[in-house]
């Protein structure tokens, strides 16, 4: 039975759009602020200026922080992909109570608040001499990213028939060959999705970074954080605008790709 939209439903929809306005308003405001000709955060008063974008290009510390963020995010994504895929594959093949426990243990970094593991990392990294090094930050970020890879690869493998591996073995493949040629390809969409998560997580990570790095490794979130603490300078609004544009573009590309894939699958 199809009933005409009721008044309460229309009210709910109105509320939902209002909520979307609330969600997006702060991001919209950042753009005009980034174009202010003033030295302090303000809305441009009829006059626009690109000086704060110029600052980003001319002040090497911004570019260096972007470089450090890229290094750390790329490194930790690679480590997370390897660890997460190994775990998900093993748990898929050896499904037992023990492997289920391992999978739950791998998820711990998702649930434990950043500040709690930041303290732990700080203690141990100090002993290992990993404070303020790329290795130290990459490993810590990788620990946080791994659960997301475990989850997305597990989801990709959920629809893969276990007998596929056995069929490959019966046809003469070794265990490693079956893994490499049959199972890993099936896990690949999950690995791709997981790497997006792990990269985004590391790119945006702040709390652990605050504890583990100082001047040697200086990521973009750290630079923005320090910038906000000192005095809020409109160069941050310029960086924020660029990051927002980047996120929107990435989202739209992802959406279009998903659409295309769905259309290809339907054909």
């Amino acid at each position: 039975m199809d009933l005409a939209p009721s008044k309460p439903f229309r009210l709910t929809v109105f509320g939902a759009w209002l909520a979307i306005l609330f969600l997006t308003l702060p991001f919209v405001v950042v753009f005009p602020v980034s174009l202010t000709p003033q030295r302090y955060l303000s809305l441009p008063d009829g006059e626009f200026s690109l000086r704060h974008y110029q600052t980003l290009l001319q002040d090497p510390s911004w570019m260096l922080s972007i470089r450090d963020s890229l290094i750390v995010a790329t490194g930790s994504t690679i480590v997370a992909i390897v660890l997460g895929t190994m775990t998900a594959l093993a748990c898929w093949r050896i499904s037992s109570r023990a492997s289920e426990l391992v999978r739950m243990a791998m998820l711990a970094p998702m649930i434990v608040p950043s500040i709690v593991h930041a303290l732990g990392f700080y203690q141990i990294w100090a002993q290992l001499g990993l404070l303020d090094t790329y290795t130290g930050l990459i490993l810590a970020h990788a620990m946080k990213g791994t659960p997301y890879v475990v989850i997305s690869v597990s989801a990709a493998l959920a629809n893969v028939d276990l007998r596929l591996e056995q069929a490959a073995r019966n046809l003469g493949a070794t265990a490693l060959q079956a893994l490499w040629k049959v199972i890993i390809p099936a896990a690949r969409p999950g690995m791709a999705a997981g790497s997006v998560f792990a990269f985004a997580l590391s790119w945006d990570e702040l709390v652990v970074t605050l504890f583990l790095s100082s001047r040697g490794v200086y990521t973009l979130p750290r630079k923005i954080w320090d910038g906000i603490q000192d005095n809020i300078n409109p160069a941050i609004a310029a960086v924020a605008s660029l990051l927002i544009v980047l996120t929107v573009v990435a989202m739209v590309v992802r959406l279009l790709l998903a659409r295309r894939q769905a259309r290809l699958a339907a054909d």
């Binding site: 199809d2 434990v112 608040p113 732990g120």
Partner: protein
């Protein structure tokens, strides 16, 4: 272990299982256990640090502030997230998709950028105050940050996608034919919602609520920036203990308490739903 696995295959997959586990144990679980250990050994062996949970009014203040903000944040995020999820699911065509797109967009946007955006809007020389003053509505800037209002606003903004997306997934599984059935039997739209739809979405509401609450409890960036050192939640308080007063005993005790509280909440959650489903591994 599956019976039909030969010794060689078993070895390959055992390595795949144990290698990451060993790394996790050494690089994650061991550091975490050090925090628990410090909480009962620094400065002296025993539960002296934990006693302060009950004796120090400063700490109790922080805990109450944290709980108050988390309850308020969770309630608001659930309410708003529910409306968004419901509308996105029941609007026909592109409108529903567009709603969902904006939620996902906000989900992917950096936490630091969000907090910064709110600072631009809310600070005393910020966009809202400037606009209100130039319009002659107020004479002096309103205090919109460095208080609980600012923190809750920023946190609700962050948590809405975390409430809306699981609620949407949950509502998708609800058999909506029961609602028109109730309407056909004479229930008003509100009655049909309250008596039929809401109870069916209750498990989703509970699990989204507990998850939002757990995320809020340990939140650092947004409260630290929008609270401006005035409204302090537990994460920031822990960071201050470590960075400024070098009080590892107290800091690790609070970290341990936070962790225990979260595991207790997860245990409660596991009564309502399969945790593996909540975290998407099943």
């Amino acid at each position: 272990m599956t019976a039909d696995m030969d010794a060689r295959t078993r070895r390959v997959y055992l390595v795949l299982l144990l290698a990451p586990l060993l790394l996790l144990a050494f690089l994650y679980l061991y550091p975490l256990s050090r925090v628990l250990w410090l909480s009962v050994t620094v400065p002296t062996l025993g539960f002296g640090n934990f006693e302060r949970l009950f004796t120090s009014s400063g700490i109790q203040n922080v805990i109450w502030t944290t709980l108050r903000i988390c309850v308020l944040t969770t309630a608001l995020a659930l309410l708003i997230g529910y409306a968004i999820a419901y509308a996105a699911l029941h609007l026909r065509g592109w409108r529903g998709e567009l709603l969902l797109f904006f939620v996902l967009l906000s989900f992917w946007l950096s936490v630091l950028i969000r907090a910064f955006a709110w600072l631009t809007l809310l600070q005393s020389r910020g966009v809202i105050n400037t606009w209100l003053m130039s319009a002659g509505i107020i004479d002096a800037p309103l205090t919109l940050i460095r208080n609980e209002f600012g923190v809750v606003l920023g946190m609700v903004h962050y948590m809405i996608p975390y409430a809306a997306l699981p609620l949407y997934a949950n509502m998708k599984g609800i058999d909506t034919r029961l609602v028109p059935a109730a309407r056909g039997l004479g229930a008003s739209p509100v009655q049909a919602f309250l008596k039929v739809y809401l109870p069916m979405s209750l498990p989703g509401l509970i699990s989204a609520g507990i998850l939002t609450f757990i995320f809020s409890l340990g939140f650092y960036v947004t409260p630290a920036l929008l609270g401006g050192g005035k409204t302090i939640m537990i994460s920031e308080y822990i960071a201050v203990q470590i960075n400024e007063t070098l009080n590892w005993g107290l800091g690790s005790m609070l970290a341990t308490s936070l962790l225990l509280a979260i595991f207790a909440l997860l245990a409660v959650l596991s009564f309502f739903v399969d945790l593996r489903k909540v975290f998407g591994v099943k």
